[in-house]
Point group: C2
Chain length 418, copies 2
Amino acid sequence: MSLLEYMQRIGQQARQASQVLARTQTSHKNNALEAIGQQIEQQRDQLLAANAKDLEAGKAKGLDTALLDRLALTDSRIANMTEGLRQMISLPDPVGEITNLSYRPSGIQVGKMRVPLGVVGIIYESRPNVTADAAGLCLKSGNASILRGGSEAINSNQAIAQCIYAGLTAAKLPSTAVQVIETTDRAAVGELIRMSEYVDVIIPRGGKGLIERVTNEACVSVIKHLDGICHTYIDDKADLEKAIAVAYNAKTQRYGTCNTMETLLVAQGIAAQVLPPLANKYQAAGVELRGCAATQAILPNIKAATDEDWHTEYLAPILSIKIIKDLDEAVEHIRQHGSQHTDAIITEDWHRARRFLTEVDSSSVMVNASTRFADGFEYGLGAEIGISTDKFHARGPVGLEGLTSQKFIVLGEGHIRQ
Amino acid sequence: MSLLEYMQRIGQQARQASQVLARTQTSHKNNALEAIGQQIEQQRDQLLAANAKDLEAGKAKGLDTALLDRLALTDSRIANMTEGLRQMISLPDPVGEITNLSYRPSGIQVGKMRVPLGVVGIIYESRPNVTADAAGLCLKSGNASILRGGSEAINSNQAIAQCIYAGLTAAKLPSTAVQVIETTDRAAVGELIRMSEYVDVIIPRGGKGLIERVTNEACVSVIKHLDGICHTYIDDKADLEKAIAVAYNAKTQRYGTCNTMETLLVAQGIAAQVLPPLANKYQAAGVELRGCAATQAILPNIKAATDEDWHTEYLAPILSIKIIKDLDEAVEHIRQHGSQHTDAIITEDWHRARRFLTEVDSSSVMVNASTRFADGFEYGLGAEIGISTDKFHARGPVGLEGLTSQKFIVLGEGHIRQ
């Protein structure tokens, strides 16, 4: 069987399974989530053995420590997979929800019913636990899924796939409701993102290279974010204590996440007060600071920021700092250099807070809160399959609801149009 | 200036105007709608003169009567444009609406704020009144728009564009908030649908050829429907009177619309009762009937339907009729031959109605109502810029809300993530 034939078969099977899943009741889907979790618990030794093979091959290939760490399965990571699936059981099922059902002057009732998207393709990199997470979220939202993990995790992913298939079968759902691609051939990704007949949406999770490739080549709709260049703007009407706490947290709570602040904007009226104590905290935490000339005048011991810094996602303990005139300049800087991911203002001024919320065109816009809050769990979505910086369909953290669509329903008693 | 430079300039201007429109207040947008309406009223003679040029050129080119009719502006069509704009004033502004703002365990408040998509490109064919309608809907929803009408309507569209620009200027909004492309060069469409930097969504309105071309070549997201192959399924538990009234209306209320029924499915248990009186009504209205063999056994004087009939959108007084076993076959027939536009069941059976609503994957699914109801006015959207049969973003009739997106907003008091 050629790669094309293999992928077409995967696609056809997913489409068929999606028709079954779309009408599967919540309790039935929950049973399958529980059964998959049990399989993962029971096959822990097999999962660790498969993972050991991947780790060995990874070491032989010279993968770096960070990547090997992401690749590794441990007892606690396996327990987390099961725990994650069990949490999905407790989430409300979005499918079938009917909203705004109301009478129209003609006498018909019109409303919207939430329905699955159909077939979701997910392309991800080294972390094998994404296999269980993504499969679970798609299953709960009534979507068939096609999962394509990193080639370095192929043995781990196939072992997890066996648990998923066994769980689906035990719960009497088609085992093709979730399909983990068996080949490491990169051309499989190319086929997946072009099968618009069989795939309704692609979610790439991983580095910028992967996401750019998928975006450029896909014929299927994509839910994605390319960059997370998040800003915090400290307004001159900010409360000093809040400003320091929030700006410190937004950078240092974790460095490698997409919602970590990368650039701090400070109003000139407050810079001399807020920057010295804040810089002390950053430097104590080992954060390298890079500033504009005005910032360097206040913090003489820091590096100069270059133009490139303003549009760089460091994903590291580095922060660029710019002193600006006012809110207008902050909004303009974010428009020019931001990635429409997450941006925050720190201010006690009602009017400016309201303007920032309206004028900053990002998937999450915050007042007096750390950009690190931008995620599905913190937002109460229960889980997250990704974050979208696009405006179409889903924006911001994408949970179960982002994996669904709404159709109109019309109820009548023989109504005809006049 | 080359075509590419011209289109790039249009795109840049639209992007800039969209930033102004996104923060323009409702009353200000309404003033602009009123001013545009007034301009159209005042420049009626100029509009008729420009339209006369198009009609003359059309006749010289040998355009058919139907096309010339769509192209023609009359006093009443001009009054309708103004009336349409005034109705938009009374529609609620979707922009800025904040929903689901609620406290999270961390203490932050999280909600969603509705925002414009940004820049909307609309590609349409002969009817010049679409220029005013589309401009108005985009303006009310806070989007800049780039309009590209049919080349046969170029003089009419440019005359309407002058009214729009004058109205925008009178209301102190950038005249580039709406831009009507001045060239009839078809390559302009190619540029427009590839300017993903400047254009957020494309809405093609017109024949299948146009929509296929746009879908295949666009880099920008597209809101569209390709076909409207709508079904009515008369279940054997249908009320005879309702079945006849609804099925007759769904075909004959208008023939050329996308929500007109093209195929009637009839359960075998009721076919002999319902088909003869229904066929009489259709034939009296001049509808040509084409049936499967079982249908021909009941209605011996009708043509045989071929396989092609089941996936043909006639847009004409022709109806294909198929007798099937039951609901399962109806759902399967619609899955195979439908276009995910609008499908209806006629039944008094609770269980079957509920199953049809769940299992038919179309943008509108109806019980005991005519498919002709599937439009923005009937659904209470106030107006409609198109109908989407995609699952992504907008599905079914697309009104003001379909021209918007939602961003997350987070409100805190110095909250940091633990």
